[in-house]
């Protein structure tokens, strides 16, 4: 079965470029011809996780793997890691700084939104060791 893989770099604190990866993912999925609603769900997740990397993660990379049956987005960063995963998935829980909030980010909706939009989310994170997020979608 054919598979498409694309890798993208995300830079810590680069708010000017934040969101670009998500836009590129959007356009790839559109070009393939996926259902608009599925594309919207993937791009919500891509955007939220991209922002997480920009705000907290340190430098990271995003890889998109597309097959006819599923779409997977891997987001890896070498940041501080997530201390309490359960807490991180609660709506409104945020470790964003004052500056982030002033820019309109850090409402504590990142991971909750990802969970809502994706079919499965796996988090692999250890304090001080970075975070690996695996977000998957079923293509029906």
């Amino acid at each position: 079965m054919p598979e498409l893989q694309r890798n993208f770099k995300v830079k810590f604190n680069d708010f000017m470029k934040a969101g670009d990866v998500s836009i590129q993912i959007q356009s790839i999925l559109k070009a393939i011809g996926f259902d608009p609603d599925l594309i919207r769900r993937v791009s919500v997740c891509a955007y939220e996780s991209e922002m997480n990397v920009v705000m907290h993660g340190g430098d990271g990379d995003v890889s998109l793997i597309v097959g006819p049956k599923d779409i997977t987005v891997h987001v890896r960063d070498d940041g501080p890691g997530i201390e309490n995963t359960e807490q991180a998935f609660q709506e409104g829980y945020s470790t964003a700084t004052h500056e982030h909030r002033e820019m309109g980010f850090g409402a504590g909706m990142g991971l909750p939104n990802i969970k809502k939009s994706a079919d499965t989310v796996e988090v692999n994170s250890k304090k001080g060791k970075g975070t690996h997020l695996k977000i998957s979608f079923n293509v029906e």
Partner: protein, 433 residues
């Protein structure tokens, strides 16, 4: 009623004058839907044109013209009613008032002249009712996206179909004007509404979309549209000669302000944004598609910078016109002149809703099969393979707007890899080595 076109022949919104064109690539590069190709030194439209007018604006030779209803409107073509975009009002300098413009139109020979500004205010109230209803019922998705700019609606339909459900199924003011004028006219004079023709005077070629391929309605109530520029001189002369003294203009400043960016949302008492210009519009639509801006109630998008005053058919400088418009707003005040209870009743009676409840907006596109997705994936991988051969100068000399589109054209056998000058050079170098 205007006939919607059938699917076979794509509707042309622009015409290219081949004698003026020198085969540069500016129009092709400006096109937001990448619909233009320049082959054999001539541009042609091969993809979906959204009638934004960008190609007209950038063409240094003036070789591209928008297609409108044509100039036979005055010579007995049967256009009894004219409804003008409020962008027309501030085109004639600071001394000319909206009522003067409407009287000038009458003097030009249009039997019935309707002031769209008043309908704009009615529409503002209806939109508030619509958005509040959604807020109460927690009906997502937000933000609600304004349906006023037809080019934005068409752009969404082609490039952001997942956002179609953000567009309210309400009939736009220009269509309401036409619909009601026809109704009233038929009731008064007894002719069937087919005999009554309504002509729109427009700042942009985009209004032709509503007439020919409306996304929001089955059929447009408008019968034709012509550009402000095509009647400008004649109207200006007629305004000077007006002797009649009746009141045709009824709106306050809010309804008049619609022609500038931010004018529509100025009449909405809610959390709004106004975005204008094609690049900004695309950026914000991408953001909405990523789930951002959902805490905003309503967004006004206008393809033209500064709103309708920046339309390709306007005559006055858009910033000057904006000043005139602001003067009107101060003069006529920001208080709405429509009665809330009256509009609410109309709203509840369904007066504002489009004639088609099945709205393409709610119709799900057919799900694509796994084998089609497989083909799509293979195709994108081939695109990447070709892109690796190209230097990514994005020059457009090959005749496609950018390297990625060129690669797609090569796969679709619409272009040959040989038409990339850099690829040819590279091949030559490889041979030499």
């Amino acid at each position: 009623m205007a006939e919607s076109s059938t699917e076979s022949e794509p509707v042309q919104y622009v015409e290219i004058d081949e004698t003026r064109c020198n085969g540069c690539v500016l129009c092709m590069k400006a096109c937001p839907t990448k619909a233009i190709r320049v082959r054999n030194n001539l541009p042609s439209i091969e993809g979906v044109c959204i009638a934004c007018g960008e190609c007209i604006n950038v063409c240094p030779k003036g070789a591209i013209k928008a297609v409108t209803t044509g100039n036979d409107y005055l010579n007995g073509a049967g256009y009894s009613i004219v409804s003008a975009s409020t962008a027309l009002y501030p085109q004639f300098g600071e001394k000319v008032m909206p009522n003067d413009v409407l009287l000038g139109l009458r003097k030009m020979g249009f039997r019935h002249v309707h002031d769209q500004a008043y309908t704009n205010e009615i529409f503002n109230v209806a939109m508030e009712l619509y958005v509040r209803e959604r807020l109460v019922e927690m009906k997502s998705p937000f933000p609600v996206i304004s349906s006023i700019c037809p080019v934005v609606v068409r752009l969404i339909a082609y490039r952001f179909p997942s956002l179609l459900e953000h567009i309210p199924p309400l009939v736009t003011p220009r269509e309401i004007v036409a619909r009601e004028a026809k109704r009233r006219f038929s009731a008064k004079y007894g002719n069937s509404s087919e005999d009554v023709k309504v002509l729109h005077i427009s700042p942009c070629p985009g209004k032709m979309i509503c007439i020919k391929e409306s996304v929001l309605q089955n059929n447009s109530y408008l019968d034709g549209a012509i550009g402000i520029n095509s009647i400008y001189n004649s109207l200006k002369q007629n305004i000077l000669e007006v002797k009649e003294d009746i009141v045709l203009h009824h709106s306050g400043g809010i309804g008049l302000g619609w022609a500038m960016s931010g004018g529509e949302v100025a009449g909405l008492d809610m959390d709004c944004l106004a975005v204008s210009g094609i690049q900004e519009t695309i950026r914000y639509l991408e953001k909405i598609e990523m789930g951002l801006l959902h805490d905003i109630d309503y967004i006004e998008f206008r393809i033209c910078t500064e709103g309708c005053l920046g339309g390709p058919f306007t005559v006055a400088d858009k910033y000057q016109a904006k000043q005139n418009l602001k003067r009107y707003v101060r003069m006529f005040g920001v208080e709405k002149r429509v009665k809330y209870e009256y509009v609410k009743k109309l709203y509840e009676d369904g007066w504002f809703f489009t004639d088609q409840k099945k709205i393409p907006l709610e119709e799900k596109p057919p799900r694509i099969s796994a084998s089609e997705i497989s083909k799509g994936i293979e195709r994108q991988n081939r695109v990447e393979d070709i892109l690796r051969l190209l230097p990514r100068k994005e020059c457009g000399v090959c005749g496609s707007p950018d390297c990625r589109t060129f690669a797609e054209d090569v796969i679709d056998e619409k272009a040959s890899l040989e038409s990339c000058v850099y690829w040819q050079n590279q091949k030559r170098k490889m041979k030499l080595n």
